[in-house]
Symmetry: C2
Subunit: 135 residues, 2 copies
DNA sequence: GTCCGTGCAAAGGATTTGCATAATC
DNA sequence: GATTATGCAAATCCTTTGCACGGAC
C-alpha cells in the first residue's frame, strides 16, 4: 500500500493522504476511528484537519483502499483493505479487535442469502465478548 | 406484550409507552427507527415528542422489551424482543429486513469465540444484499 | 402528595459541507 | 495554469439532557 496505489485510485498524492495511509499501516490495532487518526496526526505534529481525515477516509473507502466498520460504539472504524475478507471479535471492555475467518460460516451465509432470494453484496459478523485479558 | 409487561419492567403505564409498544407490534416491517415511530405517532394525532420516543425506546431496551440494531445506515432501528434470537438480511436498495436463524452458524460462532479466548456476550450478523423484489 | 414521566428547547457527538486558499500535476 | 485538495468554521444528522410542568399510583 503506497503512493502508486493512490494514483491508481485516481487520487493525487498529497501529504494528508500519505500520512493517513501510513498511520493505518503502522497502527498496532489496525482498526482506527477518524478521531484516532486525527490524534495520531496531531501528535506527529502534522497540521491536518479532522474534516480532511473524514474526506480522505471516505475517498479511500470508495477506492477500496480501506473498509469501514460499524461496531456498536456510535462511530465508524476504518482498516486497510488488504483484500482478505474476515470477520471480527470485539472486546466490549477494552475495545480490542481480533479478526477471524470461518469458511463454514461464510458458506452458510451464502446459502442463507440464496434461500431468501437475496443477491448478497456484503455481510458483517461481529462477535462481542470479553477478551482473555479482561476476564 | 402489553401493559403488564410494562409494570413488570418497573415502568409506569403511560400513554407514550403504550402507543410505542402498539406501533412496534403492528408495524409491517418490525424494524423501525425512532423517527419512523415518531412519524407514526404524529400521523395518529398523538402529541408525543421525539425525545420521549428515544427515552422510551432506551428504557425498553434496558427492560429487554426491545432490541436495538445498528445496520449500516447511520441510525438505530428497534424491534420487539420476542425472545427468539435471530440474525438479519438487509436489502441495501429498499431497506427491507428479513430475519433468519442458522444453527450451524450459531454454534460455529461459539466455537470461534472460545478458540480466541473470548467470553461471548453477544453477536450480530447482518447479510446485506438485494432482495428478490429489487433485483 | 410523591415521584416518575413528558414536552420543549438547547446541548452533544460524529460527520459533512461551503468557501477561499494552497497544493498537485 | 487548471484542477483537485485542504483548513477552517459553520451546518447537519441523530441522539441525549436540563428543566418546569403534568400525570400515574
Amino acid at each position: 500500500m503506497n503512493n502508486s496505489d493512490l494514483k491508481k485510485a485516481g487520487l493525487k498524492v498529497t501529504l494528508p493522504r500519505i500520512k493517513i495511509l501510513e498511520i493505518l499501516e503502522n497502527a498496532r490495532d489496525r482498526h482506527l476511528s477518524a478521531e484516532d487518526i486525527y490524534k495520531s496526526l496531531v501528535e506527529s505534529g502534522e497540521d491536518i484537519g479532522l474534516a480532511t481525515v473524514y474526506r480522505v477516509l471516505t475517498q479511500f473507502e470508495e477506492a477500496k483502499l480501506v473498509v469501514r466498520h460499524h461496531f456498536s460504539e456510535g462511530h465508524s472504524v476504518f482498516e486497510l483493505d488488504l483484500g482478505a475478507h474476515h470477520d471480527h471479535l470485539v472486546c466490549v471492555k477494552c475495545g480490542l479487535v481480533e479478526e477471524f475467518v470461518d469458511e463454514l460460516i461464510e458458506s452458510r451465509q451464502q446459502a442463507v442469502a440464496k434461500k431468501a432470494g437475496f443477491c448478497m453484496t456484503d455481510h458483517s459478523l461481529n462477535i462481542y465478548g470479553i477478551c482473555k485479558g479482561c476476564q
